[in-house]
Symmetry: C2
Subunit: 445 residues, 2 copies
């Protein structure tokens, strides 16, 4: 009998918990779900003699040591910056661990200790990062196996709303943490390489540097660049690749409209507005516009950002959000980003029966037998409703499968890893098909 | 006999040292100049039985305590962030202190300790901040004295090149720390209030929100907003003022061209470019432009930033800087801001005989006897050459005069101050006239 300790039971863990519970008997597992919110956690795991919910504070060293010491594997679904104390205890008690988060510097620094203690820590095995690594490495290895050489690699992922629930001019709703959506792209210049030339994009230009892609059966999307793509050259062992570009997908037109908020400064989270609870949505927009004693907020905005008077596609998005209305902001001492998030949440929240959609698209250009070839690979996953979302599935299932593989001894190389090895991606991708998470490949030339 | 300890003998301290040396005999002072670079310091103070130069490391606690303990007053001309350890020692040894820097949070926090120990610390008594406080408070107090009420206050200062040395299309040269010029406006949104409405400008819009002002005899200037103007409402005791705006002056056209570098991301100091020493100036600009297999860097730049093909005034500024040339960048692992600074230093450095110029301009709108009135007050100071600059004079003389007043017991209120009291601004402004630092006032209506 094996004990699984799942730490953190937030919104995106429902499919992970489903999977673990479905396999308790067959695999002879016990599951402990540890979260700050015990009632919510209890409601998620239901009643089962093999499950228990505990109230858990990751900063409580005694409790953390005890629970980690009692488990055979630890799955941490905490926010990224909270994994480290868990990882250190895992190494101390020689327990394996799985997370869906980006490997932080602090996590990377644990590599040699993990190896010395025979501990395996798998990270970046959710969705972007996660399924993108699995599916890209599969194609890259296949191309190499027949003697091809990868010349260019681009990969895009988007968490969007499914077409059947898409009923607003932005073609967008919040399907994960709204704060992260508002702050997306902040925290350093975006870096990539294109056709052998390094490219750097500052935040205020990011949403004007989009590419259009098409996914068969799902129409057009636009992509903007994501964080530091350069470091993935070494991660994927593509040191000499001429293009390495990781991006985020939205429906066409989103980025141009979102850029309005970026240009205004309305996504700034670095200072608070002292009188924010005295302001209306309209006042909020006016904070960022040059003073004019007679012009309306709408007119000032159009002039300031050089919008065409008849640019209906752009302006209807802004109006639909209610940003020109005189609704009061109920937040005290809030940052611009917090106020904008509040305004967006009034409009962009999923309804109970809304379905979300994860779209992933890879483009590989490679040379084979002296010819240049192009291959596209894409995945579309839809949620069932606003609880069992595509986001929850694509994050949760690969995490669960990786945990199972570690428990069954199929992943057993100690160290701090991301899932780029065939021994991991092949079985995970295979099992993901059972859940409708599936890639279509298309040879373009 | 009084001992003056001057810590930090950088470029802008020459006039301060001149003043102190000129008054050594008359005032019965000894002067110790403490700096990391002893040779440079020695050359500055010449030979005089009342002066000495010492090699000084502000982080050497023993040396710091000893020298501060031996002095009667400490003038710190160190970079702003290095004043705190000096200020703490001044409080410990009950010594008064003068700096030209903005009062930091850490400095402000020393207020009650300073009072308890009977120590006076005068800050912000150079130029912007400094002479702007002195001259503005003089007019504000005069208006109040006759029963007027200040409705609006705007103040602008610029460190520029004098017309007779102005020989480039930017009408600009570096007259103080080039790094601060490249990074100007970064580090948080600009905040001010205009006609009763709060306004916030993000960095990427700052250089497009300029105002034009004219100074009689010196032509037109443009101003962009400076840091947080809001806090100066309480500092100047103008809590209900409808406009409070502090800005920086450049010659018209500067900001629009500088904005090109801001938009590109070329002023970013947050990341390094790994292969910077392999790049040319032209490659550097190309890092920020969207990839295109055929278009020239010039054409891509024009398209990207929506420049008109015939916008000669803008484009000649960029070309004149040499940014399209294939000169190698000799810096390893440099940030964009460091590379841009290097490029600018090739062109914007003062020649030996060049004169700089400090321009300050205040606008007061006030009500008096039921009527709305407007008064402008302005100051223009030119340097003698590239050593005895206007910057050195306008920073150094008020600092020196404040130090003298403290030594003579004319400033004796303990605490952390900025020079807004009549007891300080009146005598300082009066003495500054001897050095050609003088305001003209003009009643507009």
């Amino acid at each position: 009998m094996k004990n699984i300790l799942l730490i953190g039971a937030g919104r995106s863990t429902i499919s992970l918990i489903d999977y673990l519970i479905d396999n308790l008997e067959k695999e002879d597992w016990n599951l402990t779900v540890a979260d700050q919110n015990i009632d919510f956690t209890k409601s998620k795991i239901g009643s089962n003699s093999r499950t228990s919910a505990i109230q858990f504070d990751v900063n409580n060293e005694e409790q953390r040591s005890k629970e980690i010491g009692n488990a055979d594997i630890i799955i941490s679904m905490l926010p990224a910056h909270m994994h480290i104390s868990v990882a250190k205890d895992c190494i101390k008690f020689k327990k394996n661990m799985v997370t869906a988060s980006y490997v932080s510097k602090e996590m990377r620094a644990l590599e040699s200790e993990a190896i010395q203690n025979g501990v395996t820590i798998i990270n970046e095995i959710g969705v972007d990062p996660g399924i993108d690594h699995l599916s890209a490495m599969k194609v890259i290895d296949e191309i190499r196996a027949v003697g091809g050489e990868i010349l260019e690699f681009e990969t895009f992922t988007g968490g969007l709303v499914a077409p059947e629930s898409d009923d607003n001019p932005w073609n967008y709703k919040f399907t994960w943490n709204p704060r992260n959506v508002v702050l997306a792209g902040q925290g350093g210049a975006v870096k990539f390489i294109q056709s052998g030339t390094y490219k750097y994009i500052p935040y205020h230009k990011l949403f004007r540097r989009t590419e259009i892609i098409e996914v068969e059966g799902y129409g057009k999307f636009e992509g903007y660049a994501n964080r530091d793509s350069l470091m993935y050259r070494s991660v994927y062992n593509l040191e000499d690749v001429k293009t390495m570009y990781r991006g985020t997908l939205r429906r066409p037109g989103f980025s141009r409209a979102w850029n309005v908020f970026v240009q205004l400064g309305a996504t700034d989270d670095s200072y608070t507005i002292a009188n924010s609870d005295e302001l209306t949505f309209r006042d909020f927009i006016n904070l960022f516009l040059a003073y004019n004693p007679t012009d309306s907020v709408e007119l000032k905005l159009k002039h300031y950002l050089n919008m065409h008077q008849d640019d209906v596609a752009l302006f209807e998005k802004l109006e639909w959000l209610g940003i020109f209305e005189t609704t009061k902001i109920p937040l005290k001492n809030a940052t611009p980003a917090q106020i904008l998030q509040y305004i967006l949440e009034q409009k962009w929240s999923l309804n109970k029966d809304d379905k979300d959609m994860i779209v992933m698209w890879h483009k590989f250009i490679f040379s084979l037998n002296g010819e240049e070839k192009e291959l596209h690979s894409s995945m579309v996953v839809k949620g069932e409703d606003s609880i069992r979302t595509a986001m929850a599935k694509t994050v949760g299932y690969p995490v669960a499968i990786a945990a199972k593989m570690i428990l069954n001894g199929k992943i057993n190389t100690p160290g701090v890893h991301i899932p780029i090895m065939k021994e991991i991606y092949e079985p995970v991708l295979k099992e993901l098909k059972n859940f409708g998470i599936n890639f279509s490949e298309k040879q373009i030339r």
